[in-house]
């Protein structure tokens, strides 16, 4: 059983190890985030948040300040994770930002209908990506006053 005693700042749910590495690198670069939890599929993310399965016993009150959610994942996809989070009183106030590969992604509309807080397009160019992720972390983790705390 994994324990995450420190306050979780960002939960990154991303199946691509390369995208995950780039994202984490960008977040670290901004020097704003210390504790990032990276999970590789939606099912695991739900277990983590709700303290079930592999994560039963985890303090579910230790909620992330921000969930960065990739949409296209095997097993349970981003949309399902989002709808579960937004449907549950315990988790519905956690800010969720979805990561998508394309501006034209029809799933983005569905995400807004489900109450997503923002979305970012993962651009091909690294600088753009770093900038976008850095700004995102700054806003949601540092500047945003969550009503949960």
């Amino acid at each position: 059983m994994k324990q995450h005693l420190a306050e979780i700042e960002i939960l990154l749910v991303e199946d691509s190890p390369y995208d995950a590495e780039l994202t984490i690198r960008a977040l670290r670069k901004s020097n704003l985030v210390n504790n990032i939890v990276h999970l590789t599929d939606g099912a695991e993310a739900l277990d983590f948040i709700f303290g079930e399965g592999e994560y039963s016993g985890r303090d579910i009150n230790n909620r992330p300040k921000l969930v960065l959610l990739d949409l296209k994942m095997p097993k349970v996809n981003g949309i399902e994770v989002l709808s579960r989070l937004k449907a549950h009183d315990h988790t519905k106030l956690i800010p969720v930002v979805v990561l998508t590969s394309s501006n034209e992604d029809p799933d983005v509309v569905a995400c807004y209908e489900l109450g997503v807080n923002s979305y970012i397009v993962k651009p091909v160019d690294f600088e753009g990506f770093t900038k976008a992720v850095g700004e995102l972390g700054l806003y949601w983790v540092v500047l945003n006053q969550s009503p949960i705390r």
């Binding site: 390369y18 995208d19 780039l22 590969s101 394309s102 034209e104 160019d125 690294f126 990506f129």
Partner: protein, 640 residues
């Protein structure tokens, strides 16, 4: 001379011969077997010349009088008496008498014929009694009675005057004024006694021609019609009503008529009263109507779409055309009088009938784009329009027109399916092709950042090439996606102020210092277009103009507008490198470039997007250029 008192001794022959009146005694075979002296005197004959001879041999018609009808009328009267064994009083009859020297003298008679019957009621003799009324002709200023008799004679001489005397005055008037052709014929001779004005007009003959002749003689009827009519009369007890017939007029034309005939009796004579209604006009109208109906029928039957008519109340089929029969797989006979529940599954019949009711209640046309129908050949799809037919404020019928769109729908569904597939393909492309590019680019950058100390200049250059190509491929994917997405995007047309869009664009481009060009912009109109897409068009064209003139000394971009017919024609020109007109036809193809990426960066999608947007607006796009002197791009947009 001893008086004879004994009954048996009376010499009846002598008595009869001596009677003051004019008598003739005839056998049933009309052989003269007795005559009074007075009769012989009056007829200028001698007993020995008449006895034992046939009546008409002795008394023929005056051959000098073409209208002589004495023999015919007398014979008719005698025939009547022999047949009916009852007396018959003839009308005043002109019957000329032959003098001993062979000349005929004009005479008028008032005859009465009476049968003498034996114990068994058989006719053994006929007594023919006449009064010579000829002298009345010559009397002028005598007694009133004589005058009346004289007038009677004059009047009754002609057939119609029989009517005048023997019927009510108003009946006569009606007879004459009636628009219906009326005639009276002698029942025995079938000759016309009287006809009215309408009769003359109908058969285009005057009464003088008609009277005294038979319809057959006049060519009004033929023998077949005559026997047909007689048969009808016999069957119906002397009456014919509304018999349809075609009769001949004097000019050879045929008239369509309805004939009614009634046997009437005046005094002791029988006549046929015929009334003839001319239905030629009605017939020809009916013919016209029938032709019109046939014409409409032919059209209706040949229309390749199903057309049906239902009555508004019970929604039963009143009419189904050939296409409908073929579609449903039942004949019109099988369909007529039935409703949808008789042929279709319950659920489907309810669907049809509910739509019908809606149309009839709202009295509006209903357009059903896609309507499933279960037919003999399986499930089909129809495009149906249902129309209420209102007459005098009442909804009477429901008319349906259905086009079989099964094949079209199959194709449409296939296209939709392909579009869906294409959409999921684009989605996959955008996601899955970009992810490895991101890794290539990102990891190269990480290599540059983390290991720059270990790389020499050439190593760094190689990594830069990798990065820039990955980025370029990302851009290509993005533009290709946005281009393909344009295909299904619907236009949202509204008032679009092009001048505002252009000045906004120039402001943006200038603000970010992307160029050092001068602009010359004509006044631009407000047009009906999709503003988002028009901005895209102008962005692409102005960016191109700036890009390809960026290496000129004094870059100048001109934007103009002209009215040409029903279109606005816009132009964007620059004084840049232009292009070779030999390749102008390739200009608007996707991924087509006329310059290398080293000369000018680009993906070759921009102009393809421009063309697609302009086509969607109903316009066209074209370009002219000269190498190293500049290019002008034109596009037209319809006013409306």
């Amino acid at each position: 001379m001893a008086e004879s008192t004994s009954h048996a001794a009376i010499d009846y022959q002598m008595v009869m011969e001596s009677a003051p009146d004019l008598y003739l005694l005839l056998s049933p075979g009309l052989i003269i077997i007795g005559a009074s002296d007075a009769y012989l005197t009056a007829t200028l004959t001698k007993r020995e010349d008449v006895m034992g001879r046939h009546l008409f041999e002795v008394f023929p018609d005056n051959p000098g009088d073409p209208n002589a009808d004495g023999v015919r009328n007398l014979k008719a009267s005698l025939d009547f008496v022999l047949q009916h064994r009852t007396h018959h009083k003839m009308a005043i009859q002109k019957y000329d008498i032959r003098t001993p020297d062979g000349v005929f003298e004009e005479r008028f008679w008032s005859p009465l014929n009476k049968p003498v019957l034996d114990a068994n009621g058989n006719v053994c003799y006929v007594i023919h009694r006449v009064e010579d009324v000829t002298e009345l002709e010559d009397l002028r200023d005598v007694t009133l009675q004589q005058q009346v008799k004289y007038n009677e004679l004059q009047a009754l001489h002609k057939g119609q005057e029989i009517l005048l005397k023997k019927t009510e005055d108003h009946f006569f008037a009606i007879f004459n004024l009636s628009p219906i052709a009326l005639s009276m014929t002698d029942v025995v001779s079938s000759t016309y006694i009287y006809v009215n004005k309408a009769f003359e007009e109908l058969f285009k003959m005057d009464a003088a021609t008609i009277i005294g002749r038979t319809a057959f003689e006049l060519g009004i009827t033929n023998s077949a019609q005559r026997s047909e009519t007689l048969k009808k009369m016999f069957e119906s007890g002397g009456r014919v009503f509304g018999l349809e017939s075609e009769l001949g007029a004097a000019d050879g034309s045929r008239v369509q008529v309805l004939v009614s005939i009634e046997l009437i009796e005046f005094d002791y004579s029988n006549y046929l009263l015929s009334s003839i209604v001319d239905i030629t006009a009605r017939r020809s109208m009916e013919d016209e109507l029938r032709k019109t109906n046939e014409f409409l029928d032919t059209i209706l039957e040949n229309i390749p779409n199903m057309i049906f008519v239902k009555d508004a109340e019970h929604l039963r089929f009143l009419r189904v055309n050939k296409a409908g029969e073929q579609l449903i797989g039942l004949t019109e006979e099988e369909l007529l009088g039935k409703n949808d529940f008789d042929f279709f599954p319950q659920e489907q019949a309810e669907f049809f009938v509910n739509a019908d009711r809606l149309v009839l209640e709202n009295r509006t046309l209903l357009n059903i784009e896609e309507e499933p129908i279960q037919t003999a050949s399986g499930q089909r799809w129809l495009h149906t329009q249902k129309i209420p037919v209102v007459e005098n404020g009442k909804t009477l019928y429901l008319v349906g027109i259905s086009e079989d769109i099964t094949e079209y729908k199959k194709q449409k569904d296939a296209v939709n399916r392909l579009n869906k597939e294409l959409e999921s393909f684009t989605y996959t492309v955008s996601h899955d092709l970009r992810a490895p590019l991101r890794a290539i680019n990102g990891y190269s950058k990480m290599l540059l950042e983390d290991y720059h100390k270990h790389l020499d200049t050439e190593g760094k250059r190689l990594l830069d090439v990798i990065c820039s190509n990955a980025e370029r491929m990302g851009k290509l994917i993005d533009e290709l996606l946005s281009f393909s997405r344009l295909g299904k995007k619907e236009l949202k047309k509204t008032d679009t102020d092009l001048e505002k869009i252009v000045s906004g664009l120039i402001h943006e481009l200038t603000l970010f210092g992307y160029h050092n060009a001068k602009f010359k912009v004509d006044p631009l109109p407000v047009i009906q277009a999709d503003p988002v897409l028009m901005k895209q068009v102008l962005t692409n064209l102005i960016s191109n103009a700036l890009k390809y003139s960026s290496k000129s000394n004094e870059p100048l971009v001109k934007i103009g507008c002209e009215h040409k017919g029903e279109n606005f024609v816009f132009s964007i020109s620059d004084n840049g490198v232009g292009f070779d007109m030999r390749y102008v036809h390739k200009l608007f193809n996707v991924f087509q470039r006329l310059h290398t990426n080293d000369e000018f960066e680009g993906t070759g999608v921009g102009l393809a997007i421009v063309q697609r947007i302009i086509h969607k607006h109903g316009g066209t796009v074209w370009a002219t250029a000269k190498q190293n002197e500049g290019a002008t791009f034109y596009f037209s947009i319809p006013h409306q």
